[in-house]
Each structure stands twice: as C-alpha cells, then as structure tokens.
C-alpha cells in the first residue's frame, strides 16, 4: 500500500501561539511596569473586574397572582426619611438616591458645586469628603452630609453644625481597611490650607480614626457628636463591604441612625489597583447580610440602610431596595453624568495613553473633563450649572426607572419592593442575594453562615 512520500509536500503546521490565561497580556504588562518603576499601580475608579452584580437579578413583574399599578396614573412613592431613630431633624429626601462622599481636592470646586446643584434639584443629598466642607458646596447643596473621617482634615464643629447629617466614615468599598491618598500634583494652596498640610506633598490619610477603635469606643464617639450638635443631626456610619452582618449590627448597636454600606465597585480617587480589585465584597453579596443584621436586632427600617457601589440605572436602584436597602448612593455614575469619560474628549484621553470609558487616572489631576482636577484651566471646563442640570436629569431617570419597575410589581412605594419580587440568573447571584435561581425554588447557601 502506497503510504505516500516520507517528506510532506509542505511544512507541518506549527503549534498555534497561545497566550496564557494566567499570564495574559495585561498581567504581563503590569509585571513589566512594576519591574520598571518599583512601585504599585495607583488609580481611581472602583473594581473593574467582572463581578456578580445587580445584572444577575431579574424582577418577576405582576401576573395573575399579583396585579400591577397603572404606570401614569397610580402613585408610586419614592420619598425616604433618614435618621429618625435619634436625630431631632432627620433628613427627608424626595428620591431614594443620594450622592456619595467625594472630596474637594480629589474633585474640583466646580464639580463639587455641580453635584450639590444636581442633588438639590432632584431633592436629594450630597456629601463632603476627605478634605472638609467648602462654602461652594454648602451653598449649592440643600441637604449636605458631612463626612467625619480618620484624617479629620478641615474638621471643625461649625461645619458639623452647618451640615444636615454626619457620616462617620469607617471605610469605603474600594478599600476597606485602607486610608486615602492624594498625590502632590493635586495639593494646591487651597487644598493644602484646608488640610493643614504643606502644598505639593503626597498626602496619606489615616486608615483608622485617631481617637477611637472598636464598637464600644464608636458608641462614645457617636454620643460626643450628638452632644456637640445637640442631638439635631442624623449620624450615619459608613463601612466598606467586608463583614456586613457584623459591621451593620455593631454600627446599629453603637447608636447609628443610618448605616451606609459600600461595595467594592464603589469608586475611589486614588488607591492601589491591587487593593481595589482584591479587597472587599461586591455590593450584591453585602446587602442581605446587612439587612439580616438589622432584622435580627428588630431595627430594619428604624436604622436605615444606604447601599452603594456600582449603581448605574433605575433597575439597580429597584433591586437594591427590593433586597432591603432604604436608599442607594451613587458616585462614579454621578461623575459620568457630569461628563467624566465622555467620548467628546477622546483625543485628549488618547494623549494621556487611555481612552474614553477607561480613564481612571483621577489622582493625576489632568482630567480632560475638568472633574478630578485642581488645574484651574481644566476645572473651568465644567460649568457647575450645566453639570448640575445633567446630574438632576440623570437622577430623575434613575427614579422614573425604579418607579416603573415598582409599579410593574404592584408597589405603591419603591420601599414595598421585596426579595419575593426577584429571581437570580446565576447560582452565585442566587446565593448572594438569597433569592431563587430563575425557574426554580432553589436558594443556594441557605442553612449557615453570616
């Protein structure tokens, strides 16, 4: 039998070049970058990796056994009261979406003003950040939450009393257990003066409060803040999502009016990439344990729960509320509404070695959109009035979308949404959100663990 020539007529195919799934191009680039610089990568934004999220949940909607509300005729309430547990003057908001804490320093004064304007038009609150309260943001914000941070930069009792609520920041989702960081190029004279630091230095904020540690001390700290403000102001405690059951229980036990829970998708002005991507929980995994903690204490709806980290649309809002939150908070999405990462600046993003949508060098102060900068020329690009209008529009859409879903589920208030309205598309999301896998009655993971 002729077996053909011993030498093939043309060379045999070589094995196809194959990239390692473990050492993928991004990983290799990071290894080369680390070798060249000797320092970890620092960036803004929250976790960028794919995570179980609200997208993995679906609403069931009304059917024969549930009837819907008429979309344009039957009322679906969206108001929320935060802090009625102990504060004489609780915060009353028209919508269940607040604007999260972002500092003057990391953001321009114009951006802070725009956030205040937008939140005010929409009937909600905005929040200061690690750097104190500016007159611009107090003036432009009808309801302003004052962050009480480990660094206590610019902290003074007059601003505490001028605020509408106080948020004790224990941690944030992008870096639970980490302190803040603001690199020298953004420490202008004004930022430095507000923080009592020399201009131009790389400033590192503390990761722990200087005068208390642990839940028993926190209870006394809350007492002091209440006494200083004559029990007028709601006191929130903000934690990064890591041990949400215990953190929520301990904050409530310490006397918080409101617990703010931030998932790892929540943004930061500047943190190590390795920290952002590897520490903390996605918000989807954190809400139910936090709600459970409040329910176990008999305090669900008495102590309000505000959740954040990756809220983008009204469906996310509705899902967070259905899982038991009282309100959500937005940061990254609010900046996008102002114009952050807008393709209109594509040429300038390209000049910075990135592109619209991927820009996260918020710590460098060269933001083409004029938001995460202290450069006067760049900051002047953002019109606070126009920016405020854009944010207000976006907040209105979030609210309308959440109402649309709530009505479809037959709810006359967005707070009436409940886990029973939800199913999950993945086993992971079903376990985290404690709702059935779609098409089944199976809720994985029930039977142990907090």
């Amino acid at each position: 039998m002729d077996q053909g020539p011993s030498t093939p007529p043309r060379p045999a195919p070589r094995p196809a070049p194959r990239m390692s799934a473990t050492f993928d191009p991004g990983t290799l680039t990071e290894i080369r970058r680390a070798a060249a610089t000797g320092i970890y990568d620092i960036r803004g934004y929250g976790a960028k990796r794919a995570l179980p999220h609200f997208d993995d949940l679906l609403f069931l909607g009304a059917s024969i056994s549930r009837y819907p509300l008429e979309g344009y005729r039957e009322r679906c309430g969206t108001d929320v009261v935060l802090g009625a547990r102990f504060a004489k003057k609780p915060v009353e908001l028209r919508i269940p979406v607040t604007v999260a804490g972002m500092s003057f320093g990391s953001l321009s004064a114009q951006a802070k003003e725009a956030l205040g304007r937008g939140a005010t038009i929409a009937g909600t609150s905005t929040t200061t950040g690690d750097g104190g309260m500016t007159p611009e943001e107090r003036q432009s914000s009808a309801t302003l939450v004052y962050q009480y941070l480990p660094s206590r930069y610019g902290m003074n009792p007059d601003d505490l009393r001028a605020a509408d609520a106080i948020e004790i920041v224990v941690g944030q989702g992008a870096k639970p257990g980490g302190g803040g960081m603001l690199l020298g190029q953004k420490i202008t004279e004004r930022v430095a003066a507000m923080r009592t630091l020399p201009p131009g230095i790389d400033q590192r904020s503390a990761s722990r409060h200087p005068d208390w540690t642990g839940p028993d001390d926190l209870e006394i700290k809350i007492l002091e803040l209440r006494e200083v403000t004559d029990w007028q102001k709601p006191i929130y405690v903000k934690v990064g999502a890591s041990r949400p059951y215990y953190d929520t229980a301990l904050a409530a036990k310490a006397g918080a009016d409101v617990v703010v829970l931030d998932g790892m998708q929540g943004g930061t002005a500047a943190t190590q990439t390795v920290f952002i991507e590897n520490v903390g929980l996605p918000i989807l995994a954190a809400i139910r344990p936090a709600v459970q903690a409040l329910q176990d204490l008999g305090l669900h709806r008495t102590v309000q729960l505000v959740v954040s980290g990756g809220v983008r649309n009204g469906a996310d809002v509705a899902k967070a509320l259905a899982l038991g939150a009282d309100a959500v908070s937005i940061g990254t999405a609010a900046l996008a509404a102002l114009g952050d990462n807008d393709p209109a600046f594509e040429a300038e993003y390209a000049a910075l070695g990135t592109h619209a949508g991927a820009y996260d060098a918020w710590h460098e102060g060269r933001d083409p959109a004029g938001i995460t900068t202290q450069d006067p020329a760049l900051a002047a690009r953002l019109d606070p009035v126009l920016g405020g209008r854009r944010l207000a529009n976006y907040l209105a859409v979030l609210t309308l979308e959440a109402q649309t879903i709530a009505r479809a589920c037959g709810k006359s208030h967005v707070h009436n949404l409940e886990p029973e309205d939800l199913v999950a598309l993945t086993v992971e999301a079903a376990a985290m959100a404690r709702v059935p896998l779609a098409g089944t009655s199976w809720i994985p993971g029930q039977g142990g663990g907090q």
Binding site: I39, G184, T196, L197, P210, D211, T229
Partner: protein, 229 residues
C-alpha cells in the same frame, strides 16, 4: 457667683445644652460641674468664653471640639480629651488617657500629669504641654502645632510627622519614621518659654529641652522609602 450643675441629678445633655445656649457675651462665666464620675462627652463643643470646672474625673472626649472655653478637669481625663479643639484652653490636673488633643486645630491643652499613647495624634495646630511623660506613638502624623513634654516620651515619637514641632525635656525611647532631632535655636527657646509660662510652668528652663520635627523625607512616595512607611 458660679453656676453649679450636679451630674448626680442632671444629665450630660443638661450640661452641654446649658453651655451651648450661652450667648458670646454671657455674664454666667463660671460653671462648676459636680459628681462627673467619669462620664463621657462632658463640656463638648463650647463656643462661649466661659470657665468650666469639672470637680473630679472625666471620661472620653471631655472638652472635645472646644471652641473657646476654658475647661479644667480637676481629676483624670479619659480618651481624646480636647480632641479637635479649635480654640480656648483645656487643663487636666491629673493624667490623661490616649489620644489627648487628637487632631486639635488650636488652643492650649495642659496636662499636669502624664498622657498616655498617641498624645497629639494628627494634631493640626494646637499647643499641648504635658507636665509628666507621654506614651508611645505620640504626635503620630502630627501636622501642625507644638507638643511639649517635661518628662519622657515613649517609643516612636513623631512617627510620620508633618510640620508639628516637638519639645522633650527628658528621654525619648525612640523616634518614629521621618522624625529627627533638630537644632534648638533662640527663636524656639523664646517661643517655648512663652508657652511654658502660658501653661503655668513658669520656673521651667526652656533651654533644657530638645527639639524634634520632620526630616521631610517621606513627603513624596519613593520606592526606596517603602520600608519606612
């Protein structure tokens, strides 16, 4: 004629509420607080220029966020006495627990006894004078102001310090990262003498102190300094 608030029958809220209600030009300027029994958050956030005498021991955050009052603790004070003080004078006749004067922006804090760990942590402009010694990590991340210690300082004094100035008469167990001894010049001696006098330590020789402050080597991130953070 002084006002008396007896915390055996009145509450902390009664005390602070009464002090907060005082107008800046009040003539009710002397307040005696009886039976404090270590309660927390006494005499906090007072803006009126009054004198409050606490006849015993105070708990956490006594005179916290003081805005201009003179508060005297006739016993010991718990954590965070005069924390975030903006102005005024706070005096502790006994010892103070941890984080005395934490993050305080202004005013004068005088501790006649010893102060525990992290005295002056993250201080932002206050003057602190301690008659005895201070514990470890005092003046940690201290940004501005002065810490004067007539006794000794514990380990890691002035760790990660910014622009605050430290003066110690006794021994320093160890200096923290980026904290170094600095030359004591005439201007420093003169200013220190004035502070000692203001604090009531008139007979103490300002020339017997050594000065410490920031080497400013950690003001900018650099890989070769990574081990120091």
């Amino acid at each position: 004629m002084s006002e008396h608030i007896d915390l055996a029958v009145a509450t902390t809220r009664d005390l602070n509420g009464a002090l907060h209600a005082l107008p800046p030009d009040t003539n009710r300027t002397l307040w005696r607080v009886l039976n404090p029994r270590g309660q927390h958050a006494l005499a906090v956030g007072i803006d009126a220029p009054v004198r409050v005498e606490i006849a015993g021991h105070a708990g956490y955050y006594c005179a916290g966020m003081n805005g201009g009052a003179t508060v005297v603790v006739e016993g010991n004070a718990g954590n965070g006495v005069a924390e975030n003080m903006m102005a005024g004078r706070v005096e502790v006749r006994g010892d103070a627990s941890a984080a005395a004067g934490a993050t305080a922006h202004g005013g004068l804090l005088v501790i006649h006894g010893n102060a525990s760990a992290r005295c002056g942590i993250s201080m932002k402009g206050v003057d602190i004078v301690v008659g005895g010694s201070v514990g470890h990590m005092s003046a940690f991340m201290a940004q501005a102001g002065t810490l004067t210690v007539l006794g000794d300082a514990g380990d890691s004094l002035g760790d990660s310090i910014y622009e605050a100035q430290l003066f110690v008469r006794g021994s320093v167990a160890s200096l923290g990262a980026d904290c170094v001894e600095k030359e004591m010049r005439d201007t420093h001696r003169a200013a220190l003498a004035a502070r000692l006098q203001a604090a009531g330590f008139d007979g103490v020789d300002a020339g017997s102190f050594r000065r410490y402050g920031s080497a400013r080597r950690l003001y900018h991130f650099h890989v070769d300094n990574a081990g120091n953070y």
